[in-house]
Symmetry: C2
Subunit: 362 residues, 2 copies
C-alpha cells in the first residue's frame, strides 16, 4: 500500500493506494466519528463492490446502509442529489454519521456535495473506482453538481476525511474509461512534472495493459502532484487553476453535446490539444512539442479532435467558464511541456483558429 | 452608526447598525472585489427598498442587477434557490461578483446558500430588513434551505463580507414580525446575558414602540452576543448550540404546521417556554424564573403556547433535529436565567409533559 497525506491543517487527510483496500475495515474505522456510515454508490458499481465495503464495515462493527443512484454524468443533477437527501433524512442520519462515496467522479462529486451541505456538513470518505477519480476528482475537495447552463456550476470546496484508491476496482473498468482517466494523468506531466511526462511516454503500454505496479506508480504520482497544488491553493485563487488544462475547451464539448456523450477525460484530451495548439500560436510551444503531446494522447487511445459543433458554439459555451473574469476568458495554456500558465489575453482569432484546427473530422 | 466586528480571522467582517445605511454606497463599495453586484430580494421588500440600494450602488459606479423572488418561508426551497442560479448563470455572473441579500431571514439564508455554492462560492453581503434577521440570522454564516422532512436541513456555514442592519427598514415591518424578532432578542438574555434580560424587562414597551435608540441598543447587544458565540464556535461543535434555545421545539411547530403558518420567532417563543418548563422539571429553574420568562414573552406580545398537534407528533418531528446524536435528543435548556446548557438526558416523560403543559388552548 502506498500512502500520502494532503496536509491541509485541520482538514488534512490520507490517500491510500493499493489492492484490497475496500476490504480493510480498519482503514474505514480509523476516521469514523462514530460507528455509523452510509455507503452511496451507483447501479453499475454497487453490484460489483458494495458488498465488499459493507462486509469491511461489518468486520469493525460499523452500522451501515446503502444508497444506490442511477449511473452517469447526466444524473449529476439536483433531482439525483435530492435522492441522497431523501434517503438520509428518511433514515434520520445524523451529523456525526460518515458518508462513503463508492464510484467514479460523478458519485464522488455528488456525494461530496451532499456531505458538504447535509445539515451544513457531515464527514465523508472517497472510494474512487475509476482511474479518473483515483488520480484527480477524489482528491482536493472540489464537489459539485451540474446545471443545465454549465458543468459543476453548483458546488463547494469540501475535503474528505480519507481517500481509498483500490486498484482492484480498476479490473472491471471498461477500456474506454481507463483511457479517459489517462487524459488526467497526462495532464500532471504537462502542467508541472516533465519527468513524469517522460515516464508516461515510455510506460503508456503498461498502463493500458493494467500492470499493477505501473498503475500504482501513476496514481501515486498523480495524487502527489494534485496534493501539492491543492495544499498551495485550496480554493483556486491561483495555481490550482492549472489543473484545468484543457478543461475550458473540454467543458464546452461536454455541455454542447449534452452531459454523458463524451466522457470527461475524452473531452479534456481534445481540449488539451486545443490548448496546446493555442500555446503554439502564442509562440510558447514549438511544432515538436505539439507533436509529442498529440502522440502521447494517441498512445493512450484518446480522440485527438473535438466534435464539430462550430467555433461560435464553442466560444459561446466557453464564455460560461468559472475562470472568466471581468468578461475575459482566462485559459490554462502551456509555456512548455511541464509548465502551465493562466492567460487572459489570447486573441479571439487565435482561440477560434485553435478550435477550428482541432475539431471535426480530420 | 454603531459598528462591531466578527473576528473570524480571514473570514472576519463588520456589522453596522443605524439609520440610512442602505443609501451608503461607500459601505457597499468597501468590501466589493470588483464593481459588480447582484441584489436579491423578494416581492415584498424589493418595492420598498431595492431602489435605494441600487441608487447607492450607482453612486459609487457599481454595475448591478436585481433578482426578485417570491416571499415567505414556504419558498425557502430548492426551486426558489434555483431561480437564483438561473438568473446568475443567465447573466453570466462571475465568481468575483458580490451577491447582496436584501430581505429577512428567508432571503438571507437562501442568498447565503446560493453564495456558498454558486461556482463553489462567491462573496455576499447581508442587508437584513427584519428585526429577526438583524439580531440573529444575518450574523454568523449559517445558510440553508428547507427540505420537506426538516427545516434548514440543506445548507452551509458561509460568512458574509458585511452586514448592514438599517433601522429604517424596520419602519415598514408589520407588528407581528417585530414581535417575532423580539423572541430572538430575549433569547440572548436568557442564554448568556442576564443584564440584557433585565434591561429588556424594563424596555420592552420602547422596543414595541420602535424607539430608535432602544432598537439600536438591542440590535447591537444581540449582535455582540451572537458574534462572541460564533467566534468561539463557528461550526457549532459546542457552545453555538445554545443559540438554538427553544428551536428544537420551535422547528417541530414550524414543520408540523407547514412552513409559514407560524413565524419562526413565534415558534421559537413557544418552544422557549417549553424549554423553560422542562428546565424547571429538571430542578434548574424555579417557578418564579418560569413566570418571569412567561411575562417577558407576554410583554413582547408573543404567543405563550404552542399549537395543539399531539405530544407524539411533537416528539416525532423533534427526532429529526440536527442536534440528535446517537439517537439521543439533545436539548438546549436553562440552568438559570442567563445560562444555557445542552442536555441529552432529559427523561422522555418530562419532555412530553413540558410539551403537553405548553401547547393547545390554555
Amino acid at each position: 500500500m502506498r500512502s500520502l497525506n494532503v496536509a491541509l491543517d485541520e482538514r488534512a487527510y490520507d490517500i491510500h493506494i493499493g489492492r484490497g483496500l475496500i476490504d480493510r475495515g480498519d482503514l474505514f474505522a480509523s476516521v469514523l466519528k462514530r460507528k455509523r456510515a452510509v455507503v452511496i454508490s451507483n447501479e453499475v458499481v454497487a453490484p460489483l463492490y458494495a458488498s465488499r465495503v459493507l462486509a469491511a464495515l461489518d468486520s469493525v462493527g460499523v452500522a451501515h446502509q446503502l444508497v444506490v443512484l442511477p449511473d452517469g454524468e447526466i444524473h449529476k443533477d439536483w433531482p439525483t442529489l435530492n435522492l441522497i437527501f431523501d434517503a438520509l433524512l428518511g433514515a434520520r442520519v445524523e451529523r456525526s454519521t460518515t458518508l462513503i462515496a463508492l464510484g467514479g467522479g460523478v458519485i464522488g462529486d455528488m456525494v461530496g456535495f451532499a456531505a458538504a451541505t447535509y445539515q451544513r456538513g457531515v464527514p465523508f470518505i472517497q472510494v474512487p473506482t475509476t482511474l479518473l477519480s483515483q488520480v484527480d476528482s477524489s482528491v482536493g475537495g472540489k464537489t459539485a453538481i451540474n446545471h443545465p447552463l454549465g458543468k459543476n456550476m453548483i458546488g463547494a470546496f469540501y475535503q474528505p476525511k480519507l481517500v481509498l484508491a483500490d486498484i482492484d476496482t480498476l479490473d472491471t473498468l471498461p477500456d474506454r474509461e481507463l483511457k479517459a482517466g489517462l487524459a488526467e494523468v497526462i495532464k500532471y506531466g504537462l502542467i508541472r512534472d516533465r519527468e513524469f511526462f517522460d515516464w508516461l511516454e515510455i510506460n503508456m503500454p503498461r498502463l493500458l495493459a493494467r500492470d499493477t505496479e505501473a498503475l500504482a506508480f501513476a496514481i501515486e504520482r498523480s495524487c502527489r502532484n494534485k496534493a501539492e497544488v491543492v495544499i498551495e491553493d485550496e480554493t483556486e485563487a491561483g495555481v490550482r487553476a492549472h489543473l484545468n488544462l484543457g478543461h475550458t475547451f473540454g467543458h464546452a464539448i461536454e455541455t454542447g453535446l449534452g452531459y454523458g456523450e463524451w466522457l470527461h477525460g475524452e473531452a479534456v484530451a481534445a481540449g488539451t490539444l486545443m490548448a496546446a495548439e493555442l500555446s503554439r500560436r502564442l509562440g510558447w510551444l514549438n511544432d515538436a512539442d505539439v507533436a509529442r503531446i498529440r502522440r502521447i494522447h494517441d498512445a493512450a487511445g484518446l480522440a485527438l479532435r473535438g466534435p464539430k459543433m462550430g467555433v461560435e458554439r464553442y466560444l459561446e459555451l466557453m464564455s460560461h467558464d468559472k475562470k472568466v473574469e471581468a468578461g475575459k476568458l482566462r485559459l490554462v495554456l502551456l509555456k512548455r511541456i511541464g509548465e502551465a500558465t493562466v492567460f487572459g489575453d489570447a486573441p479571439v482569432a487565435d482561440i477560434a483558429a485553435s478550435i477550428e484546427r482541432c475539431c471535426g473530422d480530420a
